[in-house]
């Protein structure tokens, strides 16, 4: 197979080296233009994300490893001293790596979904630069398909893997859709904003923000399209909300008090209290009612750990799907490799046939001529089929793929064993009649 990969990722290179190797879109376009005109290269594509910079190549002949490293350093601007961090993979190994990348199995956060979009973008960019050939097109499309397949057939991308997204997952487990839900955000620091951003992305549009510094609360309220309320929040605010997120730096609980407890007791709909602060902001006594769910940072860490463990288990099944796609690509490649030879063989035989039929045209009546056409076509189809089957078999076994050796094999084995036997059998049957 003529597929090569050189690249580095979070496993082989430090952040500093990854930063040096990272390529911006204009740099990728320049590199693709350079590669598409290079000798010994039929196709190229470049994937550059925050965790990896990989160059996929389809060469006429495989490059040696040093040449590939020099090329990689030239394209990315990586100092040659750091080139040791790059890995070189070829053929099936390169394809396996590409499919694992698409499936999220090679990601820092196992099963993450962004990589699939990044891979699609890399492919689109390479296509736009007319830098790909049919092998690379097929490899990239197959990898994207495999990535989707893995996510559809396993739970590798399911479950939140950060505290902020775990808060959203918990809210969705309780309320279902978050559109139309009302959220009281207590605090305007980084943690509070992160959780709020995730909830905002999940469809929450109705916000009240309570913060000790009103100016900061206003900034967050403007970002989320909510309104500012007093600090600490009152019982009316908690009664209004479906979800309370608290993440302040206060030394003692701020969502607390007899009035608050009374409001929680009186309410007749579920309330989710998410306490992301240490020390805690929400009085645990508020979880008095069966419809009130109180969660703290420790609970979310447990949820994230459970989700990661579940993803690790799903990764084993994902690897099997990856292998299936790699094997299918290899089979396609083997078939693809002999296709030009078979086409050439067909053209040669067809020329010979036509020439012979035309040369003998006068000797036959129009009816006999039509029969001769059919007979000669059938004959070359059989010969062609016999040689093509040998070529395909040789391709599977990585044998000599020349036409001459395929013909030699066909005449040595099949003609004698199968073809001649068939003819003899037919003659015997005709003799009986």
């Amino acid at each position: 197979m003529r597929l090569e990969l050189i690249g580095l990722n979070h496993r082989t290179a430090s952040l500093e080296i990854r930063e040096q190797a990272a390529m911006a879109p204009p740099q990728i376009d320049r590199a693709l233009r350079e590669l598409s005109g290079a000798d010994n290269l039929e196709g190229a594509a470049i994937l550059s994300t925050c965790n990896r910079t990989e160059v996929y190549l389809s060469p006429v002949e495989h490059h040696d490893e040093d040449a590939l490293r020099r090329l990689y350093c030239r394209l990315t601007g990586l100092p040659p001293a750091a080139a040791g961090a790059a890995y070189v993979l070829r053929d099936d190994d390169a394809m396996r790596h590409l499919v694992r990348v698409a499936a999220g199995l090679d990601s820092q956060l196992l099963g993450e979904v962004q990589i699939l979009g990044q891979l699609k973008e890399a492919y689109t960019r390479a296509l736009a630069a007319t830098a790909t050939n049919n092998i690379l097109n097929k490899a990239l499309l197959r990898a994207i398909e495999a990535g989707k397949d893995v996510r559809n057939r396993t739970g590798i991308s399911q479950g939140a893997v950060s505290v902020a997204s775990a808060a959203v997952q918990m809210a969705q487990r309780i309320f279902g859709s978050l559109a139309g839900r009302r959220v009281l955000l207590v605090g305007a620091g980084e943690t509070a904003r992160l959780a709020a951003n995730h909830l905002h992305g999940a469809g929450v549009a109705d916000w009240r923000i309570a913060n000790r510094t009103v100016a900061n609360a206003r900034v967050v309220a403007d970002l989320l399209g909510g309104r500012v309320t007093g600090f600490p929040p009152g019982a009316a605010d908690v009664d209004w909300a479906d979800l309370v997120i608290s993440a302040t730096g206060a030394p003692a609980p701020v969502v607390v008090g007899a009035a608050m407890l009374d409001a929680v007791r009186r309410r007749k709909r579920p309330l989710l209290l998410l306490d992301l602060a240490v020390p805690r902001d929400i009085d645990p006594a508020l979880a008095v009612h069966a419809d009130v769910y109180l969660y703290t940072v420790d609970d979310f860490e447990d949820l994230v750990a459970a989700n990661l463990e579940a993803r690790r288990k799903e990764a084993l099944r994902a690897e099997q799907i990856v292998e299936k796609h790699v094997a299918e690509f290899s089979a396609w490649y083997r078939e693809h490799r002999v296709a030009p030879t078979i086409e050439r063989l067909h053209a040669v035989l067809e020329d010979l046939r036509r020439h012979e039929v035309e040369r003998n045209q006068r000797r036959f009546s129009p009816q006999d001529h039509a029969q001769l056409e059919r007979f000669s076509q059938a004959l070359i189809r059989k010969v062609e089929g016999l040689i093509a089957a040998n070529l395909r078999q040789a391709s599977v076994q990585d044998d000599d793929l020349s036409l001459a050796s395929a013909i030699a094999r066909a005449t040595a084995r099949d003609m004698q064993d199968a073809g001649v036997q068939q003819v003899l059998e037919r003659l015997r049957q005709e003799g009986r009649h």
Binding site: R151, N152, R153, T154, G155, Q158, G159, M170, Q172, R173, I174, F175, G176, S177, K268, R269, P270, H289, A290, D291, Y293, D299, D302, L303, A306, N307, A310, E314, R317
Partner: protein
């Protein structure tokens, strides 16, 4: 023809639903969205075949499948499955499809064991008014069984969230909000249908004065059921209990309903109506 309608097709349906149960049982153990889509499509196909069989049976015997306990079990199984397919359109049931399927397969086994061929039909079970009453009643029961299933799901998920158990039940059940919404919807609609079925029975009684004693004896359990259901609906509308409390109430009500339904069915086929 009778052999096909009363034996072969019902057995094939049981096999089909058994396969469907097997697929969903596999999906309990692992995530596979492709297989899940196949299971959902297969579920729709099974519902369509079940519907065609019921229509053919109704045409053949000129009455809905209510002529013996076996037919009632199949009729109820069909309604439960139609309801499940309908609910699936609004809320992804995911692994929760297993519970209705267990009910459907159980009812089908019960139906086949007790036999589907009606033999000699009593006059009591013939006529359009019986068909209307029985259809309303069974549709109501099917919805209330669905209500019990959603309430069970609510109880399970509530416990998982409270106890911080982040397992497959936590991950794959519909959300508490969806389960509560479906539970309330099925409770209110099911109650309305049961009340309507009792009302049609009353009208029927007035139209057939000679059969008053038979009908009223069968209606006693149904009247009690209707009264209990209305009380539960009032509690639910007023939100006097918590969502989980209401879910527990619905599960208990489901148990009571199945008991009263059995009493009612025995009364029809073994009691004065037989």
């Amino acid at each position: 023809m009778d052999q096909w309608l009363y034996l072969v097709l019902p057995q094939l349906l049981l096999v089909g639903f058994g396969v469907l149960l097997g697929i969903w049982a596999i999906l309990l153990r692992r995530t596979d969205l492709g297989l899940e889509a196949v299971a959902i499509r297969f579920g729709w196909l099974a519902a369509a075949v079940l519907g065609v069989w019921m229509v053919a049976l109704a045409v053949r015997q000129r009455q809905l499948p209510i002529l013996n306990p076996g037919q009632l079990a199949f009729f109820l199984a069909a309604l439960v499955w139609f309801g499940q397919c309908y609910a699936q359109r609004w809320v992804n049931q995911r692994l929760f499809a297993v519970l209705p399927l267990l009910g459907v397969v159980g009812l089908m086994v019960l139906g086949l064991v007790s036999g589907l061929h009606p033999g000699t039909v009593t006059r009591f079970l013939v006529g359009p008014e019986v068909a209307v009453h029985a259809s309303l009643s069974l549709a109501g029961v099917a919805l209330l069984l669905g209500c019990g299933v959603f309430a069970t799901g609510h109880m399970i998920l509530h416990q998982q969230i409270r106890r911080r158990r982040f397992d497959a039940w936590f991950q794959r059940l519909p959300s508490l909000g969806d389960l509560d919404r479906l539970r309330r919807l099925t409770l209110v609609t099911g109650t309305a249908l049961v009340v309507a079925s009792v009302a049609t029975a009353m009208i029927w009684t007035s139209l057939r004065p000679g059969e008053e004693a038979t009908v009223i004896s069968h209606l006693h359990p149904m009247l009690l059921l209707a009264a209990l259901l209305v009380a539960l609906v009032v509690v639910d509308r007023r939100r006097w209990w918590s969502a989980n409390g209401l879910a527990v109430g619905c599960v208990i009500m489901c148990g009571v309903m199945v008991t009263l339904l059995c009493v009612s069915v025995i009364e029809i086929f073994q009691g004065r109506g037989a």
